[in-house]
Subunit: 612 residues, 2 copies
Amino acid sequence: MYRTHTCGQLRLTDAGTTVTLAGWVQTVRKFGSITFVDLRDRYGITQLLFNESLNQQLDEQPLGREFVLQATGKVNERSNKNTNIATGEIELIVSEFKILNKSAVPPFTIQDDTDGGDDLRMKYRYLDLRRNAVKRNLELRYAVNRAARNYLHEKGFMDIETPFLIKSTPEGARDFVVPSRMNAGQFYALPQSPQTFKQLLMVSGYDRYYQVVKCFRDEDLRADRQPEFTQIDCEMAFVEQEDILNMFEGLIKSIFKEVKGIDYTETVERTTWEDAMWTYGNDKPDIRFKMKIGNLKVPATAYPSHQQELQNSPFASGATGFAVFDNAETVLAIAVPGCADYTRKQTDELTEWVKRPQIGMQGLVFIKLNADGTVKSSVDKFFNEEQLKTIAATCDGKPGDLVLVLAGREQKTRKATSDLRMELGKRLGLRKDNEFKLLWVLDFPLFEYAEEDNRWVARHHPFTSPKPDQIATMIDNNPVIENAADYLNHPYSNIKANAYDMVLNGNEIGGGSIRIFQRDLQEKMFAALGMDEAEQQHKFGFLLGAFEYGAPPHGGIAFGFDRLCAILGGSESIRDFIAFPKNNSGRDVMLDAPSAIDTKQFDELQIKLDLK
Amino acid sequence: MYRTHTCGQLRLTDAGTTVTLAGWVQTVRKFGSITFVDLRDRYGITQLLFNESLNQQLDEQPLGREFVLQATGKVNERSNKNTNIATGEIELIVSEFKILNKSAVPPFTIQDDTDGGDDLRMKYRYLDLRRNAVKRNLELRYAVNRAARNYLHEKGFMDIETPFLIKSTPEGARDFVVPSRMNAGQFYALPQSPQTFKQLLMVSGYDRYYQVVKCFRDEDLRADRQPEFTQIDCEMAFVEQEDILNMFEGLIKSIFKEVKGIDYTETVERTTWEDAMWTYGNDKPDIRFKMKIGNLKVPATAYPSHQQELQNSPFASGATGFAVFDNAETVLAIAVPGCADYTRKQTDELTEWVKRPQIGMQGLVFIKLNADGTVKSSVDKFFNEEQLKTIAATCDGKPGDLVLVLAGREQKTRKATSDLRMELGKRLGLRKDNEFKLLWVLDFPLFEYAEEDNRWVARHHPFTSPKPDQIATMIDNNPVIENAADYLNHPYSNIKANAYDMVLNGNEIGGGSIRIFQRDLQEKMFAALGMDEAEQQHKFGFLLGAFEYGAPPHGGIAFGFDRLCAILGGSESIRDFIAFPKNNSGRDVMLDAPSAIDTKQFDELQIKLDLK
């Protein structure tokens, strides 16, 4: 052993004992003939004091930042105590030391506020990982991992490893593939998720399965996506949706408790997908703050369960005389609390914000509900005060609020309103890092229609079951649509899935479904997605086969482990919570991977490049 | 919920309560108007009793093997108790039932003694996984996983995930590679182990790391090798070999305790590599039984630490007159306990056994040490009784033992003697499944010489450090050898590694080393293995770089998780302990993977086939 204690361990009660520490030199300070060194390891920092007697050795072997040092000496009570750190009451009076390894001057400082840029820190990731901020993230990640495993173990779940070299069944995202040398000309795929394997395990009778497992998707990397990512993957048999919701809100509450010390005792709120879209314009709403959307005008085919509410809208009776609204498919409003006193400059800035290409709206109508009860708007010409108040009422506008109204095509307007709500929530400090609000979003549509490909796609995945009372609708109808634009009129548009997402602070942290477990229904689903029998058999023959031999009802969920950790750590970036992340081009800049391979490797795999 | 209890849960104390069970129909038996069903789930089997009143429903919906059934009824004390199973005192008097899913007749019986052959069970792995024998294996695997994590957590280790898409650095085994779409023409590799990453984590200060992690090697598959396998991978900083040995024999003892209920209180034995080879002819000896090798004649360059012992050999003074021995490089003996009374037929069979091509010896000399003190041998013409007793003494032959002597080339003879020892140990019942004996093998050679390639190869891997007092030998000598056959005379042949293997019952279950942490020594190692500077930089520049910024002394170990589980489960085959294994051609016959991929996938990856 190179040490008797860690650098975070010694306390005043250890004073007088002789100990050996080993770690990294954080700082070297000289006062007269005395040298102070802060020695750092994973556990903390301890101050070392080198007396004059060691000066000759220090001259011969000068210490530098990040040198690896072993030091033996007596623990001493400090006169000048540092109450900010746990070891701040003591110091080590060094009697002997040894430099275990030297260090070149690091390319950036190993401190919370480092001077290193992103690229440099990625290249020298092994140094970036020394920083306290990064270490805390990885410690949090491990704590979440541990808490999840403990909870699932207590509930009778078994960790069962599923294979990484599987079959390519492109459907949805792109597979990473692996050429097989022993089966030349053929390829494995890396799993996008262990979905079919966990379902097979249910067929096999392992009725509670989990895994903390790497998954792979070869997609163009938007910010904060990684080609390899980690899921907490779970599945249960003989359960209904309600059982899953209870089990897994329990999991997240247990993680809150173990990792953050938070007792999340309140009931987890639930909303349907239609309600979430109607009220927040978003299927993963952040419910830490209100600012609910007022729906003034919405097309008749959208959100059938809410059409009734439009009867009370000021637009219910038809044209208002304001062409922008009258010509729009959708008109939506939100009330920004306490912002009625926004200046012209401020409202102009908001207008510019919604006109940015990412948002893409034409403009913004605002209504100031002044604290004195008066109303002022940018559309005073077209609406009287009564009408403006009616509009404001749809989004619960109160005196002192600024009501913002957006108009345009349904999807774009709803998304823009949601984005504006989130932006203002952030600006107004309503989205607090240390506040956590969970939400279940339920009853998603089973299908989406890809107009460009003129075919149905599974919103969740092809293994998700419809609501039991809609199985007949699915079986009895021909999925083919003559005119793609008519898809909203097809019965499939209204089939709801037995699916659920768990949302935390406006982020989807997990999602799952009750699965199809009947061969005929699974075949109907595949057919609806455009797979003929041969393709079904080629891609999923094993699963259809398994469903013939006594498949139990089952369902499950998968949590995005990286994102969950990031949110719990109060960060927007999952990269900060991954030990060795890749950049936005899918490169590991530290390793310089991917890279060219040898001729011999090409020969053995019997492939060659075919660069365009 | 589809059930109130599991099929393994109900006891006599539940009698009188109404419960609902769900599971699979194991058997259906009809006695007169009454039907008995054994209902099975992961937790056990419960007997269901269907009275006459349900006969009509049973006629309309007949039950078959492996049907998924939900049944509600009252728990009843059985008159005819089955003491073999935990639920054997009760039965369920069914009042209602529902078939949740039907099953076709399974292709083999779901029983411990199944009638299904290997191939059929691999194809229908989801049915094979239902068998109790397989389920017990996966449960044991999970228990080992859990015990390992708990021990390592208590000791302050952190689970840190390392990447799967890394850089190809072919060295030793072949990499699986993954073409990159975003970086066309370039490839990732799947990790053969997280070796360099865990070393970087030590450089980063995470001084106790572990991971239960998938690794990949594209090697021709011998029996019981899988292209993907799992390691318990560990690394520590600021430690010496002794610290590692203590920490990880603690890990295995803890697994014994938690998983098998075995208190392994004895000290774990240790041997050097030379001693193991000398005494057992094997670097992973099974020490559950003795039968130590008597070294009668050994070449002067082999096993320098044991040459002294040969002074006492009957061959020390030169020729014996028996040409087979006199012409042989090596002569070795073992004493088979209590087998002096073997018949001619039995000794002939042993001779045939060593002459098989896998063993490849020319013949076998035997000496019967009769219980009455007389001696009879197949070489009575050449040796007198005194000489035969001297030979027998080298392998501790006692009255009643059969001494077997093998002669030939050193390597082949030593391996043959070891194989013979293992075979006889097995035949004599000396290798008991329920006995566990651990052994550390230490002081491996750092290098091996690949005569065919005329170069040194790292016996463990290129990151293993030499013994501290041999660093100078390594640095100061030129590794190049003019005449490959002379390699035993090169100083590198005698450099011992700071490496250790943990052996359990004759199987290497783990291995590791104290690592090189100095850049200059690592460069010398790479150079000794034939890598020039450019190649070093291309393949391992990141590691050499990391060693410049304060790398601490460190070392670690990796356990073969699949094999460890198999041995603890008393099996020779790791495949039985993997949920979805591949066959000897690297195929998943259930999925039918690997398989062809689409033209679109080739186009996107910019590669094409180049079949020979």
